[in-house]
């Protein structure tokens, strides 16, 4: 479909694929499709947030104590890194819209660099937990000063939720890098800014999840 339409189009000219009436309708369809996917992602994470809420409600004090064992400075740096990457990918979309491919690709590379930085910091955070025997679930070894069961639940949910988020960051790196190479290669399926916009929507969602994970795990009040 993409090849068929893109074969005869001039640079800068809008490519309307056969099944659409207008370029506006085509673009709206892509954005709505992407949001539909993001709704399923909200559902995916939603269940975990619900479990989290229930257990934090029940074990408020232990969870506050466990929260103090997480390094909120590292978590804060990671929050800043993700916010910055959200900004750079939004800027990349804007560059794609005006046809400034050179800066679009630079900003996409910067976003990938932020994503990698996030994962490196997360790796050191996980390592610190593992060194102290704070493995998830059955392997959890406990801490001398906190109740075993509830603190094990905390660490299990911490690894499950930040881990699932981490997988999304990894997927983001793969998807953005793929987009960069396809844009460079002038792939026929990339006829305008929409692929960049869709990838950016996904990346903002990853940022969005972290905006909630950060205060929920690192900053639990007394």
């Amino acid at each position: 479909m993409a090849e068929h339409a893109a074969h005869h189009h001039e640079p800068g000219e809008d490519v309307v694929f056969g099944q659409y009436e207008t370029i506006e309708q085509q673009r709206e369809s892509y954005i709505v499709g992407m949001w539909t996917f993001l709704v399923t992602e909200v559902m995916f994470f939603g269940g975990l947030f619900l479990v989290y809420t229930l257990y934090r409600w029940k074990y408020a004090e232990v969870w506050h104590g466990m929260s103090l064992h997480l390094n909120f400075w590292l978590g804060g740096v990671n929050t800043a890194v993700l916010l910055l990457s959200s900004f750079s990918v939004a800027w990349a979309v804007q560059r794609a819209q005006v046809g400034d491919t050179k800066n679009q690709i630079r900003l996409l590379w910067f976003t990938v660099a932020c994503a990698c930085t996030f994962l490196v910091i997360k790796f050191f955070e996980y390592q610190e937990k593992i060194v102290h025997g704070l493995y998830p679930d059955w392997a959890y070894q406990g801490l001398p000063d906190v109740e075993f069961g509830p603190s094990r639940l905390f660490m299990s949910l911490y690894f499950a939720m930040t881990g699932l988020h981490g997988v999304h960051v990894l997927v983001g790196i793969i998807v953005i890098t793929t987009l960069i190479f396809m844009t460079k290669a002038k792939a026929p399926s990339i006829s305008d800014y929409i692929p960049t916009e869709m990838v950016a929507l996904y990346w903002h969602f990853v940022d969005l999840v972290w905006i909630f994970l950060y205060p929920l795990f690192y900053l639990i009040p007394a």
């Binding site: 900004f87 939004a90 979309v93 903002h204 940022d207 969005l208 205060p215 900053l219 009040p221």
Partner: protein
Amino acid sequence: MAKHFEEHGHHVIPTRTLAINLAWLMALMVLTIVAARVTHFLDTMPANVVAMSIAIFKAYLVVAIFMGVKYTTNLAKLFAIGGFVWFLLLFGILIDYFSRPWEPVKGWEPLPSTSLPRTPGVDE
């Protein structure tokens, strides 16, 4: 604010708007850390409300500006908002946990009714 321009149904967000949005998000992040860990003047409940309000506001800024929902078509807005409405409905399940102790069903549970999950070995 710089003039936004529309062309072929897409909206180009000025760099200035994006940068201001980033500045807001960073400031709110610092605020949420200060409120939770640096100062300790807030009680548990207000601290939770402040932390979640800041998170929700940050989420709004990302969705509205960075994801461009503020400038998109009504259909796309409907789908974007739909996801978050669903998320709120999901949390409606908590009503069940809240309300169970209000009307304990005789013979249903041998233990005193509770709104929360039981800990094996502790609550039994």
